[in-house]
């Protein structure tokens, strides 16, 4: 039997910049001047979301923090600061940082120190997620966008060794990072280390996550891409002779709104795709023309028509149909999640992007209450999914 988990992912968006400013701007990330971010409004937003997190801690929704910089989509720019606060204000639920952008941080040892500290403060409730990032983050973080996947893996390896070495100091002289004297204090609360996650749908990367046993999470992958990603993970384990893993190794993030009725949920849920319609507008030099953004052989397709993986129909009904949104009354949402789980071959951890776009604090609180009290119980003790075809395919 399988019991699923629900996680709350809020990016703390800032949807208060006048539309005419956003329309006139080339990019709403990286280059939008911070005069458009009112600190008093930002302070109110932080307070509201702390309240949402306290509620999540009480009702059993785990919490995801993340990190983006210099834009209207996200006020979690200093992710370790935010995650440390969440660790201190909660006492029961797990906390996933998804994540500090290691590709823009010059010293992974410092990142490991931050993670270890948060793990101790939370008394072992931290999970550590890695995201490759790219685009505007490279600009805001002044990080060379070339070779970031390779740089990310070296950062992950160094962080892992920093968290698991207890008889140091040790020396690291890698391609991207050097540190002659690594000795992280405090060491993490969990042993051997907090669980690692990574967000990707890139199939070779999914395979590597499989070999390493990381949790593989996808963002808005929809049915087909998500299934392929999880299959790549499972096949890589079969090929490597590694044991089968449980559904807790698979995670999926979607837009989510749980309402008292389907009608209410659909109405409020329509405020969420602001994330796609407004908050990711970026200049061509920060997107399709950024070095490394697309492999050169893919450039003609990307530059001619745009090779966006984004859904083109952003109605709630369409997003639900594509498996990119769970939305409705509690029974409807539970049914959608169960169907998604079956169609992708099993997934144990659903990350809900709910307080997004123009969704208000009160609306988010209502959705969280319904998710925890009326959806989550329907996702417990589910029959296992037969994925024996994976082993056959790998052979």
């Amino acid at each position: 039997m399988v019991s699923m988990e629900l996680w709350n992912h809020c990016e703390n968006p800032y949807p208060f910049v006048p539309a005419e400013v956003l329309d006139a701007a080339d990019s709403v990330r990286a280059s939008l001047p911070n005069k458009y971010c009112d600190p008093q409004t930002a302070a109110r937003l932080y307070d509201e979301i702390w309240e949402e997190y306290r509620l999540c801690d009480d009702i059993g929704l785990n919490i995801v923090t993340n990190e983006h910089h210099s834009g209207i989509n996200n006020l979690w720019a200093a992710s370790p600061v935010i995650t440390g606060i969440v660790a201190s204000m909660t006492s029961k639920v797990r906390i996933l940082t998804l994540g500090t952008l290691v590709t823009v941080r010059p010293d992974p040892v410092r990142v490991a120190t931050e993670f270890a500290t948060i793990d101790v403060i939370s008394k072992g409730r931290l999970d550590i997620g890695f995201v490759k990032s790219g685009a505007t983050e490279m600009v805001s973080g002044n990080a060379n966008p070339m070779h970031i996947r390779e740089r990310e893996w070296e950062a992950i390896d160094l962080i892992e060794k920093s968290l698991t070495t207890h008889d140091g100091p040790f020396s690291w002289e890698g391609k991207f990072f050097t540190h002659p004297h690594v000795n992280v204090w405090p060491r993490p609360y969990q042993s051997p280390r907090p669980d690692f996650w990574a967000a990707t749908s890139d199939l070779p990367t999914c395979a590597e996550l499989g070999r390493r046993g990381f949790v593989n999470t996808l963002l808005f992958g929809g049915y087909e891409r998500t299934r392929k990603a999880y299959d790549a993970y499972k096949q890589a384990r079969v090929v490597a002779g590694l044991p089968k893993v449980g559904e807790d190794r698979f995670s999926y993030m979607a837009f989510c709104y749980v309402g008292d009725t389907d009608e209410e949920a659909m109405r409020i849920g329509q405020k969420i795709p602001w994330f796609l319609t407004v908050s990711i507008k970026s200049s061509p030099q920060f997107s399709k023309f950024q070095p490394g953004a697309v492999a050169p052989e893919m450039a003609p397709a990307a530059w001619r028509g745009g090779a966006s993986k984004r859904p083109t129909d952003l109605s709630v009904a369409s997003l639900i149909a594509q498996g990119q949104m769970f939305c409705g009354n509690p029974d409807t949402v539970a049914k959608q999640i169960k169907e998604f789980r079956e169609r992708v071959g099993g997934v144990g951890r659903i990350i809900m992007m709910t307080r997004q776009g123009l969704v208000t604090h009160a609306q988010a609180m209502n959705s969280f209450n319904l998710a925890a009290k009326e959806v989550l119980p329907q996702l417990q003790d589910l029959p296992a999914i037969d994925d024996s075809s994976i082993a056959v395919a790998a052979e």
Partner: protein
Amino acid sequence: MRIELETLRRGSGRPILVLHGVNPVSPSAPFLDPLSKHGEVIAPSHPGFGASPMPADFETIYDLVNLYQDVIDDLPDNDVTLIGLGFGGWLAAEVAITRPAKLSRLVLADPVGIKIGGREDRDIAHFFNSHPAELTKRAWHDPSKRPPGCYGLGWQAGIDDTMTDAEMVSLARNWDSLCLYSWTPHMYNPRLKPWLRRIAVPTLVLWGESDGIVTPDYGRAYAGLIPGAQFETIPAAGHHPELEQPAAFVDRVVRFIGTGAKS
């Protein structure tokens, strides 16, 4: 270790080695034929550009500088003129401070590579973070005069339906490689400026009068750091005077080559 370089050659005689800027020298570049009447123009594509493979262990400008010292050492002639264009001008200056034995003359056209102004002055317009329209405005005196098949800064704004897939793949590859070599510090080496005094060959610094990527004032300061360097501007040209004013560019270079041979 053998490193393959796609190399364009035109003409014959004493070698004129051209190090390109953001994109390799196009076979249709209008300065090639007139310049090749005065020597053999040799224009390799840097590793990772054009059809030159990117060696697995190439990472920084240091790799290019050492590579081009090898290239100069391997030329059969001992009277080499080195021309560097834009980003290639930075490379050429780096190579010249190592004093290659066969190097006779140096021409830098709108080079980047050094920091002149204060810490809050942007000496070099950002190649990667600027909008293509902004780069086009800054890089060209008159973008409509860009020779067909030749791409300089702001090349993204020139993408249209007539461009072939192969051209796009090549431009993407060039852009990636340029970024690898030059993202940070953006387009300069903080250690180069104090060593420009080591350049020991006659040097001509040419500058497009309308260059808004690196201004003529930056050029004057650059030239002032190279012992005995001449500084000349080319009217009605931006960051790529060899493309916008090929006749004037070649005229200045040829006049310079005719003088100041290595003793």
